[in-house]
Each structure stands twice: as structure tokens, then as C-alpha cells.
């Protein structure tokens, strides 16, 4: 199987869905003539024309709502929001309208809509262009939220999202666009609501999603190669619905859990999963659940400050070392136990 980038996987899925279903169309800022701020839609305007690939002015609430309305009449819009930070301007249409229409009107009107948008920091884009707001949407019944970490999942989940009859927030990540991975078959689909154990392990479980799931997998593989620890990685892939079963089963096996997320810790995805684990796997836990997340500040611009603020592999390894069973802790070697506690 050839390797393609996450960007290419998204592009291919969009193109295939446009070819497959006349109801599918794309809209968003700069997706046509400009070919996309991050070039996901490059070439699609030329291939499909302005009816199917619609450039919008900078009016997030307006064009997101327009997509919701078009979906109400049976079209299948795929909206691109340039970055998740701008989705804040469309909250009324997403939270008050799209998420409510099917239920509130007694099941008369499905809203088959996909909103693609990248989150994530680390590009020196500062406080207003680096957020991870997925938990806002994962909180809302009526929405589905997916957050793939690999090109294969990006493709498979995007196809599944387009075919779903509900509004789906499709979370991408700026730092994932150039990541390469195996290209799945044309008909490859990843079901919404299914997590994946991307690496099996015995000592502890790291639960993550989107870019941090890729980082976690990398860390886990490294630790295994170094023959230090056997870390299991659960890539959530979907935040709503959440695959509780896969999370709980993994922690029942390893008895230790870290939730690793790029967003802010308080009231975050990790808080939800920690609560789930104490509800469902309390007796299986050998240690308190750890949350590894970014500092709770508006992200600063300056590179050293940005690096200090964002979470990453260093913070995860620290947490793993603290949480791992004592017999396996690298720093111990039986001596640290006697060290003074200061």
C-alpha cells in the first residue's frame, strides 16, 4: 500500500464523495479559487465547477447556517471552517440550530452536514489561532464529533461522516496535514463512534485523539523499542459518540490510565474520560488517572513560551514514568524510594 499524507487522504475522500453523490457539495472560505488555506481542496473547483465547490465570503454564521438549511432540504454540504477558532462565530447555527433540528421538530428533518476544521497550536499563530475547542461540540447532544489521527482514519471517517444523516464536526489538526501513512482502499470506511487500540500494551493505557494520539503512538513505540515499558494506546477517533467500551476494556487490562490531550485540562476530554473510568472501572484502577494537557492560558506567540505552554511527548513521557508500575519505572532502579522527598 502506498503512503499518502493526511492532506491527500482528505482531498481524495472529498473528491470521491463529490463523484459519488450529486447531493454532496463543498463550501467555505477560500476553498475554490484559492484552493484552500491548507490546500485540502486543491483542484476541486477546476474539476467540479462552482456549483459543487462554493467560495463563501467571511461570514461563518451565515454560511454554516446556509449549509444547515441546504441539508434540511436533502443536500449533503461539507463545510470547511478555515480553523476551529473561527467556528466560534457560527455557534448559533451549530449548537442552537443544527444540533436541535432533528429532535426538536419531532424527527421530521435530518441534517446531513459535515463541518471540517483544523485545530491545534504550535505554529506560532498565538492565542486566537491555536485553540482546541472540540470539547465544546462533544458536549452537545445532536452533534457527532470525530478527530482522526492518521491518513487512513481521516479518509475513512470523512467518508462515513458525509454519509451520516446528522451534523458531524470533523476535527483536523494543522500539524497533521503533512503526516504520511498508508493509503486505504477506495471503499475504506471507519465507523463513527469506534475507538481503536493502535498499540497493544500491558503496563498502562494512554487514551488520546487527533494529533496527540499520533504523538502517543510514537512515544509508546519508542518505549517498547527501548524495552522499557509496554504502553497501550487507545485512539478515540470519535469524541461523540464516545466508545466507552474500548476505553474501559483497555484500562481493565492495564489498570492504569493517562488521558493525553492538546486542549486545556479543566472540563476537557480527559475530565470526561477520567469520570467514565471511575464509574466503570474503579475497582480495576491501581493508580489515579492522569491527565496530560496544555497549560490553561491563552497561547503566547513567542516560540519558547509557546513550547512551554503546549503539551507534547516530553510531558507524556514524564506522566508515563510517574504512573508506570513501580517495578517498571526507569528512574527507580530500587534507589529512588530512599531519596528525600523534596
Amino acid at each position: 500500500m502506498a503512503e499518502i499524507t493526511y492532506r491527500q487522504a482528505l482531498h481524495d475522500a472529498l473528491r470521491e464523495e463529490l463523484l459519488r453523490d450529486e447531493h454532496v457539495f463543498l463550501l467555505g472560505e477560500e476553498i475554490g479559487v484559492f484552493e484552500g488555506s491548507y490546500k485540502i481542496t486543491a483542484g476541486l473547483l477546476t474539476e467540479f465547477g462552482p456549483r459543487r465547490v462554493v467560495d463563501t465570503p467571511i461570514v461563518e454564521n451565515g454560511f454554516v447556517g446556509m449549509a444547515v438549511g441546504a441539508a434540511m432540504l436533502g443536500l449533503r454540504p461539507i463545510v470547511e471552517i478555515m480553523t476551529i477558532n473561527f467556528i466560534v462565530l457560527a455557534m448559533d447555527q451549530i449548537v442552537n440550530q443544527a444540533a436541535k433540528i432533528y429532535a426538536m421538530f419531532g424527527g421530521q428533518c435530518p441534517v446531513p452536514l459535515v463541518i471540517r476544521t483544523p485545530g491545534g497550536g504550535g505554529q506560532q499563530l498565538a492565542a486566537t489561532h491555536s485553540q482546541n475547542l472540540e470539547v465544546w461540540f462533544a458536549h452537545v447532544p445532536g452533534l457527532k464529533v470525530v478527530a482522526p489521527s492518521t491518513p487512513a482514519d481521516a479518509k475513512g471517517l470523512l467518508r462515513a461522516s458525509v454519509r451520516d444523516n446528522n451534523p458531524v464536526i470533523f476535527l483536523e489538526n494543522l500539524a497533521l496535514y503533512n503526516v504520511k501513512g498508508e493509503a486505504p482502499r477506495d471503499d475504506y470506511m471507519v465507523p463513527i463512534g469506534k475507538a481503536q487500540v493502535t498499540k497493544e500494551g500491558a503496563d498502562l493505557t494512554v487514551i488520546s485523539y487527533s494529533r496527540m494520539a499520533a504523538v502517543a503512538l510514537d512515544v509508546a513505540r519508542r518505549l517498547e523499542q527501548e524495552n522499557r515499558l509496554s504502553v497501550e494506546v487507545v485512539d478515540l477517533r470519535s469524541l461523540r459518540p464516545l466508545d466507552r467500551e474500548t476505553i474501559v476494556n483497555s484500562v481493565r487490562k492495564t489498570n492504569r490510565a493517562i488521558v493525553f490531550e492538546e486542549d486545556w485540562r479543566s472540563f476537557g476530554i480527559g475530565a470526561e474520560i477520567a469520570a467514565l473510568l471511575q464509574e466503570e472501572a474503579f475497582d480495576d484502577l491501581d493508580a489515579p488517572i492522569k491527565r496530560v494537557a496544555s497549560l490553561e492560558v491563552p497561547l503566547p506567540y513567542s516560540k519558547p513560551l509557546e513550547l512551554a505552554t503546549l503539551t507534547g511527548s516530553k510531558q507524556l513521557i514524564e506522566a508515563i514514568n510517574e504512573l508506570a508500575p513501580r517495578r517498571r519505572r526507569r528512574v527507580n532502579h530500587g534507589r529512588n524510594n530512599h531519596a528525600p522527598a523534596q
Binding site: V59, A70, L75, N96, M104, Q108
Partner: protein
């Protein structure tokens, strides 16, 4: 455009459009249609009076906003559209739902929270919906329905369909971002939509002049190079004709436009609003220009409706509303057990629906 600018000039001069409401009924009007307008207006009046009464008897919960005083606006709006056009409204929508053919029983049952309600008791007064009749919902966030209606028009244009969308809103909505964003989008994409502003002169308790830098609201459309008209919302024929004209523009030329119907709310913002911010004299004067009385007089003057026939229509409306209340009373509440057993299906559409539009 000449016609448009003439009307705009008239409106700017503040010429009382109430004179029109007393003008003779043109010869070419169809009597059956005229009597139907009268009947619809009375039906809305009775239905809303009854809604207020049922609210006070605690049969209806939540918020409840009535169309009392706006009957000519409501019925004229609906009469100007084709039966298969799509309608989006705000939360003051009982009358619009009735005028679009929703059974009064289904509307009253929705207000009562019953399973037979038009939204199966899930939406209530502010969220009536009927897909079959293309009544695409009452929306309770001010301005929320505008991008949605614009998107529905987008879907119609995408399919090169013959239907259009009509989007009703209140005067306060014209100050929201959603209003301006939607008008702009409709114009740049040439969408088949009519924006219909009901200027009842108050956004809750805020007078239009205090809330809008431009108090002649139809003028706001000029920012989007869009045709617009102000009409007397007390004159059902004037409202109908304006909507017809705008609908034809949308249908034939894919040209969006805007209508401002100047109307008057007989009561407070909602049934619990004691209406203390309005001058009693102003309210008295507003109520004196009763659109139903005015229309009945015009019909009588034209020899189209005598007292006996009027009483017959009034009684028919009364009976229809009584039957709606009885239907709502007799209908069951939604089953809590079924609801709890099917939460997933309540919130999310199943995979197999939604391929084709309404």
C-alpha cells in the same frame, strides 16, 4: 425599480398606509379567495385568543407569543406564496402555521405538549414544524432562521427547482448579524428567497427607533442592492400583493428581495408580558385599526359579505378552534417510557433517511 422607489418615497414621507386598508376592493378579486382570507384571519384571531386562555389555564407551558393584531400580515404573507413554497418563521408563528395549512388540532396539541402535536410535543409553541406542508419551522433564537432559510433557497437553486423560500422575521431581527450575512449571501448567490419583516414596532419592549439606526426597515436591503418594499401590514391584500411580486422575482429571476409589513401587536411580547412599556393610548389606537374589522367593512362595502355570512364564518372559526382544543385535550402526552427507551433515536437521525429532500 420606479415602482419600488415610488413606494419607498411614499413610505419615507410617512403617508399613512392605513388609508389603503379602507380602499375599495378591486373588481377583479375572486370572492371565494377573499372570504377565505377573512376566514383565515378570524381563525388566527380565535386560535390566538384561545391560546392565551389555555396558557392562563396552565394547559400551555413555556413562552407563548401570539399573532393577535397581525392577522392580515400573517394571512397576506401565506396567500402570496404557492402551496409548495417553503416557509421559515420566527417563534411568533402559530398563525403562519395555520395559514400554511397545518391542522389547528396539531398546532394546539403541540402547544399542549401532546404526542399528536406537529413536532410530537418536542418543540412547543416556538418550534412548530410540518415537513409535508413545507412549514420548515418556527425558530426561537432571533435571526436563527435567516441563514437556514437562505440555505434552503440555496438548495432550491442548486436543484434548479421552481419553488421559493419565504422567511419571516420580526423588526428586531434586522439588527442582527445573521440578517445582514443572509441578505448578502442571498444576493451574491442569486437565491430564490423573500425576506419578510413584520415590523410590529417593538422588539419585545424596545421601540424600533431606539433599536435600529434606520427605522424604515425595508431600506436596509439597499445595502445589498436588493429590492424592497414597505406595506401596510393591516391590509391583507397589500401584503399578499407584495409577497406575490417578491415571490415572482425570486421564482422567475432568482432575485431575492425584502418586504417590510408594518403591523401592530395587540398585546405584550408574550402572554405573560403586562405590556407596561407601551402608552395605553398608543395601544388603544393600534387596536382601533383592527385588520379584521377593516377587511370585513371593505368586503361589506363591496357587497361581498353580509352580517349573516360573516357570523357564519366567525362561528365556523370558533368551532374549528374549539375542536382543536378538544383534540389537544383528548390527545395523549408522549410516553415517557418510549422516550427513555429511544433517546438515541430522538436525538439522531437513523442512517437510512435523509437521502432526498422535502
Amino acid at each position: 425599480m420606479d415602482d419600488n422607489s415610488k413606494q419607498q418615497t411614499q413610505a419615507r414621507k410617512g403617508i399613512s398606509t392605513r388609508e389603503q386598508a379602507r380602499a375599495p376592493i378591486p373588481q377583479e378579486e375572486d370572492r371565494a379567495a377573499l372570504l377565505n382570507y377573512y376566514y383565515q384571519m378570524v381563525l388566527v384571531r380565535r386560535f390566538e385568543e384561545k391560546s392565551g386562555e389555555m396558557y392562563n389555564r396552565a394547559r400551555i407551558g413555556g413562552y407563548c407569543h401570539l399573532n393577535l393584531g397581525e392577522e392580515a400580515t400573517v394571512v397576506g404573507f401565506s396567500a402570496g406564496l404557492a402551496p409548495d413554497d417553503y416557509v421559515y418563521t420566527n417563534y411568533r408563528e402559530h398563525g403562519y402555521a395555520l395559514a400554511r395549512g397545518l391542522p389547528p388540532g396539531a398546532v394546539m396539541a403541540e402547544l399542549f405538549g401532546k404526542d399528536t402535536g406537529s413536532s410530537r410535543g418536542r418543540g412547543g409553541s416556538m418550534h412548530l414544524f410540518d415537513r409535508e406542508r413545507r412549514f420548515m419551522g418556527g425558530y426561537a433564537i432571533v435571526g436563527g432562521q435567516l441563514p437556514l432559510a437562505t440555505g434552503a433557497a440555496f438548495a432550491l437553486a442548486y436543484r434548479a427547482a421552481h419553488e421559493i423560500v419565504a422567511c419571516q422575521m420580526g423588526d428586531g431581527t434586522t439588527n442582527t448579524g445573521a440578517f445582514h450575512e443572509s441578505l448578502n449571501l442571498a444576493k451574491i448567490y442569486a437565491l430564490p428567497i423573500v425576506y419578510f419583516v413584520v415590523n410590529n414596532q417593538y422588539g419585545m419592549g424596545l421601540r424600533v427607533e431606539r433599536g435600529s439606526a434606520v427605522s424604515e426597515l425595508y431600506r436596509k436591503a439597499c445595502a445589498y442592492d436588493m429590492q424592497s418594499w414597505r406595506v401596510d401590514g393591516n391590509d391583507v391584500l397589500a401584503v399578499r400583493d407584495a409577497v406575490r411580486k417578491a415571490a415572482a422575482l425570486a421564482r422567475e429571476k432568482h432575485e431575492p428581495s425584502l418586504i417590510e409589513a408594518v403591523s401592530f401587536r395587540f398585546r405584550g411580547h408574550s402572554v405573560v408580558d403586562p405590556d407596561r412599556y407601551r402608552n395605553p393610548q398608543e395601544v388603544q389606537e393600534g387596536r382601533a385599526h383592527d385588520p379584521i374589522e377593516a377587511f370585513a367593512t371593505r368586503l361589506a362595502d363591496a357587497g361581498l359579505l353580509d352580517e349573516k355570512e360573516r357570523r357564519k364564518l366567525d362561528e365556523k372559526a370558533e368551532h374549528e378552534v374549539d375542536a382543536a382544543v378538544k383534540f389537544a385535550e383528548d390527545s395523549p402526552f408522549p410516553s415517557v417510557d418510549e422516550f427513555m427507551a429511544g433517546l438515541e433515536g430522538y436525538v439522531y437521525a437513523p442512517a437510512e433517511t435523509g437521502e432526498e429532500g422535502a
